[in-house]
């Protein structure tokens, strides 16, 4: 438990995350980049199939190293370590969601810890063709991915009394704040908002907030403000268009990203990416495996496909990535092919075929 607390502090956050430096490391054979693919549980394999089909169709120079990691193999140390080693070697991964089971820590959380993918970025954007209560949303929720409530330090001190420790450190807070501002600069975003509950959790969230404020001074071209998390949730349902980039400690992202996902049309439409210093993992933004629909091919593959498109851009395959994003938007805007979550009854494969036909039109 103390292991994470006594790691030597970095004197300065000198190394920027791999989003800024661009993709430099990784495995390349014969001009093709090898990427780790972990389909995961539930509908994971089905939406992963959409991606592999699309990449083949587009002749993208990417080779997948597929690691079969599900809730059944998760407790197998060997299989789990194999996945981590592959990700560390390749430097890039595409991942479904791993089901919430296992002992001690859930494996989504362990992944982050072992890989030190400290920054998680969830993108919630509205699509014209998707009917929702609000439109024109394009917000980015950035979370510190390795500490906070998910440090998972719980114990029952006396019978009937459980303590759960939330740890916030200056080192990690500064790191994520810098990431958020660098991200805003790189993607031409105008404002970063720090989401916190420092009025109640004065020391912990207070530390996080002050790190963000300190970092903001180094980026005078980006606007900065702070907002208490309960007000943020209220504002999200009243006027979500006001939000640009939001940075927060880990626990609030559950609420903010899921609210954001619900506002733009559901978990099936929200991509995300996680960054460490030398590694990037792309996966659907809302962590729902939808176990009961496994094998039925009814899931919406858009979240996974968009995540893979962002992965292509990360690999400097910008044209392919942009084309894929445009094709997905066209399919959604035309409303002719809609999976169950969008109110239709298209299958995952039908949706994939619709995206392929849009891609052909783009090239025509």
């Amino acid at each position: 438990m103390l292991r994470t607390l006594v790691r030597p502090a970095l004197s300065t956050v000198s190394k920027s995350a791999s989003t800024i430096s661009g993709f430099k490391s990784g495995t390349k054979y014969g001009g093709k980049t090898t990427v780790t693919l972990i389909p995961g549980d539930g509908v994971g394999p089905e939406i992963a199939e959409s991606v592999t089909t699309l990449f083949k169709e587009m002749s993208v120079p990417v080779e997948f190293e597929t690691i079969d990691l599900t809730k059944y193999t998760l407790n197998d140390e060997g299989a789990f370590n194999n996945a981590i080693t592959s990700l560390k070697r390749n430097g890039v991964g595409l991942k479904g969601v791993l089901n919430r089971s296992g002992d001690f820590r859930t494996h989504n959380v362990e992944f982050r810890g072992d890989l030190d993918t400290y920054a998680n970025v969830v993108r919630c954007m509205s699509f014209e063709g998707v009917k929702t209560h609000h439109s024109g949303i394009d917000l980015i929720a950035i979370r510190e991915n390795t500490e906070g409530e998910y440090s998972c330090l719980e114990h029952e001190s006396v019978s009937g009394v459980v303590e759960c420790l939330k740890v916030i450190t200056r080192e990690k807070s500064m790191r994520i704040a810098k990431f958020a501002f660098d991200y805003a600069l790189e993607h031409n975003r105008k404002k970063v908002t720090c989401i916190h509950k420092a009025n109640i959790m004065k020391l912990s969230d207070g530390l996080f907030k002050s790190c963000c404020a300190e970092t903001a001074k180094l980026y005078p071209s980006i606007d900065y403000d702070e907002q208490i998390v309960d007000n943020t949730c209220q504002q999200l349902v009243i006027n979500p268009q006001q939000f640009d980039v939001m940075v927060m400690p880990t626990s609030y992202v559950t609420v903010v990203s899921n609210l954001g996902a619900g506002l733009v049309g559901g978990a099936g439409l929200v991509p995300s990416k996680s960054f460490g210093d030398d590694i990037a993992v792309f996966e659907p933004g809302a962590r729902h495996t939808w176990m009961e629909m496994k094998g039925m091919y009814v899931a919406n593959p858009v979240a996974m496909v968009l995540s893979s498109a962002f992965m292509l851009k990360h690999l400097m395959l910008n044209e392919a990535g942009d084309n894929l994003i445009t094709a997905v938007k066209q399919v959604l805007n035309k409303r002719t092919c809609q999976t169950r979550d969008l109110g239709g009854n298209a299958t995952t494969r039908e949706m994939t075929r619709a995206i392929i036909s849009e891609l052909h039109e783009l090239h025509a």
Binding site: H133, H155, G160, E163, L165, T169, S204, C233, L236, G262
Partner: protein, 322 residues
């Protein structure tokens, strides 16, 4: 032999029984909106006698904060109160007034109904929001236990106890039964916080067994967040620990039009109840006399219903609910 019954009452009861209610007007727009509420209640002939008291923080020698003794005595005597918004000065060394009040009266459950208000259009008006959040109000992330382990490393403790979890669960189910609500859903993150939220969930399950007429289920917080913005109409009574409750109740207030329309009630031991407006003091509106009394008024109506004065509450609500 005398029978118990002496004679039948033929006319209306002539003696009116007034309920004495403690009133804390509060700060900022508090006094103005409190006076609006008193005026409205009086116009509606509600049998309420107000006992007003000022509330301000007193920092004791031992570092503890308390409120004036007359205010405390009044609440314990009347067992019912209505409170306006209160300001907490920053940097004066004392704990927030709201927290002090909560601790003084042992207010363990916070009840926040969110119902679409006719005439207030939000993107969710069509769905017809009508849900109630019952939030555990004494512990969780708000235990205030924090310390700096070494410089640059801070630890904050979230405390969950079996007793507090059971008490709030009991209240949630009792509320559901008393108010003819069919469903109770517990929101949690027990997949991540297995012990703490796990204990909370276990207590909810145990209590649900005593209420077979009420349908109980649990939901992960993330699923709930997504579902509530897609289709809030599916939610009925929700029970959850402190932090989630704080966030969620502001969220549901947003769905119906904001905190200015959100009533709130707090339950303490032995049937003690304190109703309040949860919005801020809006100091900038005081001079312009533009404070909106709706939230305080709706909390007052919750209070009337608690006192079994449903007819009076309906009478006041009718003009603005049509």
């Amino acid at each position: 032999m005398l029978s118990g019954r002496v004679c039948k009452l033929l006319g209306p009861a002539l003696a009116r029984h007034n309920h004495t209610v403690t009133l804390f007007p509060g700060d900022g727009i508090g006094p103005q909106i409190s006076s609006s509420v008193k005026e409205i209640f009086s116009a509606a002939d509600a049998p309420i006698e107000w006992e007003e008291h000022e509330v301000y923080p007193i920092l004791e020698k031992d570092g503890k904060t308390r409120i004036p003794q007359p205010a405390i005595d009044s609440i314990f005597k009347n067992k019912i109160g209505l409170k306006g918004p209160m300001r907490t000065a920053i940097g004066k060394g004392h704990v927030s007034l709201n927290l002090t009040i909560r601790r003084t009266f042992g207010l363990y459950a916070n009840v926040r109904p969110a119902k679409s208000v006719p005439g207030v259009t939000t993107p969710y008006s069509e769905n017809g929001v009508d849900c109630v959040i019952v939030r555990e109000n004494t512990e969780g992330e708000y235990s205030g236990i924090e310390h700096t382990v070494v410089p640059g490393v801070v630890q904050s403790v979230k405390l969950i106890t079996r007793d507090a979890s059971r008490n709030v669960a009991e209240y949630a189910f009792k509320y559901a039964r008393d108010n003819n609500r069919a469903n109770v859903v517990a929101l949690h993150k027990a997949n991540i916080m297995k012990m703490s939220d796990g204990m909370f969930l276990e207590q909810c399950r145990l209590v649900s067994e005593k209420y077979p007429d009420i349908k109980f289920r649990d939901m992960y917080l993330d699923s709930a967040c997504m579902k509530i913005v897609k289709d809030p109409g599916q939610f009925d009574v929700m029970v959850m620990p402190n932090l989630y409750g704080d966030i969620f109740s502001d969220l549901t207030a947003g769905l119906i039009g904001g905190l200015g329309l959100a009533p709130s009630g707090n339950m303490g031991r032995d049937g003690l109840a304190l109703y309040e407006a949860v919005h801020g003091t809006a100091d900038d509106l005081v001079e312009k006399n533009k404070g909106n009394p709706t939230a305080l008024l709706m909390s007052g109506l919750m209070m009337l219903r608690h006192l079994d004065l449903k007819a009076e509450a309906d009478k006041i609500e009718r003009p603005y609910s049509t």
